[in-house]
């Protein structure tokens, strides 16, 4: 080794250098603006172009929106007010259409004196999903979540409370059968039985039972027909029930797609691919045109119910893919550990695999829900009055004939606020999951 420099290089620091402020050009607003907006010629051009775009859009939009007129009965009156205040050439929004039809956009033709019902339903709905979405809410609250669908149905449609109760009893019946049959008959048979017995009950007993109970203790709310529901309320109903109902179906499909059993696997794959290969709008037309062909003669139910069925099938295919991702993300060791402890397929799914897979899938499910919620606007094509459908109806009325932007902007804004916050929530969840799982 060469030591030629050894002596010359030896160095020991005696006083440590104190931390210093960066040079002025390297800090503060100047640096930030320079680096973020004017660092290269290309950047300068981009900045100028962006400023121009922003200015153009805002200079048109802001005065129009801010100077808008909130108080008028019709477009004609709106224009009169405008002429008075700003002169005839001014371009200002006529938000009066929103303030006048606000209730309609929210509830459709739901009887105004009953508005408290959907509002209460919405609050209950929020309370019911809280335990699902936020782990910090006590687990006991999940019982309320389970009961919520029946309560919500009753609140929205009215009728006798005993109907939903009788239906819910069917599920309870299934659970009871499952619990007592499983030890005696084995899991597979118990599952089949737990499906069959409630079905039998629903087709035979539940109707008369509800009737009888209602005769004894009438608990009735005024009936509201599906046709009267519209606006954002309709979008919520379809979106939420689509997701809620498709969840179990989607899980079953995902399990089917993961299964080694050839027939079950292929059937799931075909179902999923067919559903996803065809646009939702075609499925909606199928719901409105064809579903009646496939059902026994004489069955004839609500268009809204048919739409919900179709939307459920549709989103179940998407949910299945999301859940499949969750299942695939679980390490194989979890399956093996469950096997090694002697848990059978159903138990290991229920106790070990699904709780974890579903948790991982929640962001994906939320994203599916956002997509579905946006897609509810398509029901306008089969004659349901979603917000866009209502906007058409409003525009067709003589008072508001000729108004567009205000309605579209308002509806778009509502959708944006809702979808954007859901999207943020799902991002937040994804980040949290990544932190927890590492």
């Amino acid at each position: 080794m060469s030591d030629t420099h050894a002596q010359t290089v030896a160095f020991v620091r005696d006083t440590m250098v104190e931390e210093q402020e960066p040079p002025l050009s390297q800090s503060g607003a100047y640096k930030w603006i320079h680096e973020n907006m004017f660092s290269t010629p290309l950047n300068v051009i981009l900045t100028v172009v962006s400023l121009f775009v922003i200015w153009t859009v805002l200079s048109h939009l802001l005065p129009w929106a801010v100077m808008g007129i909130w108080d008028a009965d019709s477009l004609a009156q709106c224009r009169e007010i405008r002429d008075e205040i700003y002169g005839a050439d001014a371009s200002v929004a006529c938000w009066a259409v929103i303030s006048e039809r606000w209730n309609q956009l929210l509830f459709g033709f739901y009887p105004p004196e009953l508005y408290w019902r959907p509002v209460l339903a919405f609050v209950l709905f929020l309370a019911a999903i809280a335990p699902v979405l936020f782990a910090s809410v006590p687990r006991k609250a999940l019982w309320f979540s389970a009961a919520a669908p029946f309560v919500l149905y009753w609140l929205l449609w009215g009728g006798s409370l005993w109907g939903p109760i009788a239906v819910a009893a069917g599920f309870a019946l299934g659970a009871v059968v499952m619990r007592f049959a499983a030890p005696a008959l084995g899991a597979l048979a118990a599952v089949l039985l737990a499906i069959f017995v409630p079905l039998l009950y629903w087709f035979t007993l539940s109707g008369p039972l509800a009737g009888a109970l209602n005769a004894v203790i009438p608990l009735e709310l005024v009936n509201v027909r599906s046709n009267d529901m519209g606006g954002f309320m309709l979008a919520m109903i379809i979106g939420v029930s689509g997701i809620a109902l498709s969840l179990p179906l989607g899980i079953v499909l995902a399990l089917g797609r993961q299964s080694d059993l050839f027939i079950i696997n292929k059937c799931s794959v075909i179902f999923i691919e067919v559903i996803r290969g065809v646009p939702l709008i075609v499925w909606l037309f199928t719901a409105s045109l064809l579903l009646n062909y496939f059902l026994p003669p004489g069955t004839n139910f609500d268009l809204m119910l048919r739409v919900i069925i179709m939307v459920t099938l549709f989103s179940s295919a998407y949910i299945a893919e999301v859940v499949r991702g969750g299942l695939a993300a679980l390490p194989k060791g979890q399956y093996e550990a469950a096997d090694a402890l002697g848990l059978d397929y159903w138990k290991s799914m229920r106790l070990i695999i699904l709780p974890q897979a579903l948790k991982i899938s929640i962001p994906g499910i939320v994203n599916t829900f956002i997509g579905l919620f946006k897609d509810t606007t398509l029901v306008v094509f089969i004659g349901l009055l979603d917000p866009i459908g209502l906007s058409n109806a409003i525009r067709a009325s003589t008072d508001w004939n000729g108004i567009y932007w205000e309605l579209f902007v308002f509806i778009g804004l509502c959708f944006f606020i809702f979808c954007f916050s859901m999207g943020r929530y799902s991002l937040f969840l994804e980040k949290k999951l990544r932190r927890e799982h590492r």
Partner: protein
Amino acid sequence: MTTMTDPPGQGFRLSQLIYDTRYRSLTIQVVAMIVLMLLFSWLVSNTIHNLQTLGKDFDFGFLTQPSGYDINQRLIEYDSQSTHGRAAIVGILNTLLVAVLGCALATVLGVIAGVLRLSNNWLVSRLMAVYVEGFRNVPLLLWIVLIFALMTESTPAPRAFRGDTPDASMLFDAVAITNRGVYVPAIHFASPFFTNGALNWLVVLVVLGASIFAIQRLRHWATAKQEATGDRPTTWYLILGILILPTGLLMLLMGAFLDMPSLQGFNFGGGIHLRNSLIALWLALSLYTGAFIAEIVRGGILAVNKGQTEAAYALGIRPSTTMNLVILPQALRVIIPPLISQFLNLTKNSSLAIAVGYMDVRSTLGGITINQTGRELEGMLLLGLFYLVLSLLISGVMNVYNASVKLKER
């Protein structure tokens, strides 16, 4: 070596159907099969019964009947005397047209927005975030309707171009933007080789194809030269020349001239008429899908480890070359699969054409034809099949691609 045998002295017992792993899966599948068959036959028998009560049959004969309606935008010959089948094909072509145009524009928008969103220019990246979030969080239908309304409400009617002092005038005297669509000049041939216009275009296309082939050869040559000498010859002006000159010359030879749109009667005549319905649908689909693609592109670029760039820089490779040789090839693997499923979504979403009266396959076969013939079962079946086949084709392409670029791992 012994082979597996059943436990001795035990024949087949019925309980084995459930408790024996070998038979159990068979049992489950047979049960599932039976349930499925039952369900299926129940649906079919319902359908048959319902059709009978209605006095309808199941027959595709209507496809060969004259349709009786006109379609405004048609890529192939069609009039009201043509068959429903042909109307369906016109619709299919229209669907494909808007899908292809949409995918192309969406990709361009998406790539630009995705890259700009990563820009270190704060203003630009914020602006792109606004674009992306704005389009992603508002229903597509609303965008289609909005853009369509914007186009009909804020552009002049053809009659505004009329008179000595018209309210509106054409751009460069060549392009007319009206509330019925945009009229752009068309190219026609004065001394054509063939009387049939389409054949002339075919000739031009063949020459263009040949030029592109020549460009490929040129690039091969450049690569070979680079491999041999290390220097890559500059070729862009050659490429430009090969691309433009032969085709241009041929078109001149054929007497190409621009057919300018001009006011004729009620409308503009001449030129090519891009209908509002097409443009609105096209723009809305592209902007909407572009927002999703932007996120995909951004994710793809971010997915390439920062270390890759650093390694390339440390080797002395220039940023632009690094982009081409290191970042893009890796990012594309991440980008292309979700990109293709966005293409699929766009294609499916083109069925929203109904909102603007664009005559896609849903409007012809799945709309007017079903309505005029009452063949909803057959019509919807064909329509569903068309979309299904299209998606399977596209996802087939995606699978082939995925398999071909899969990174080799241990």
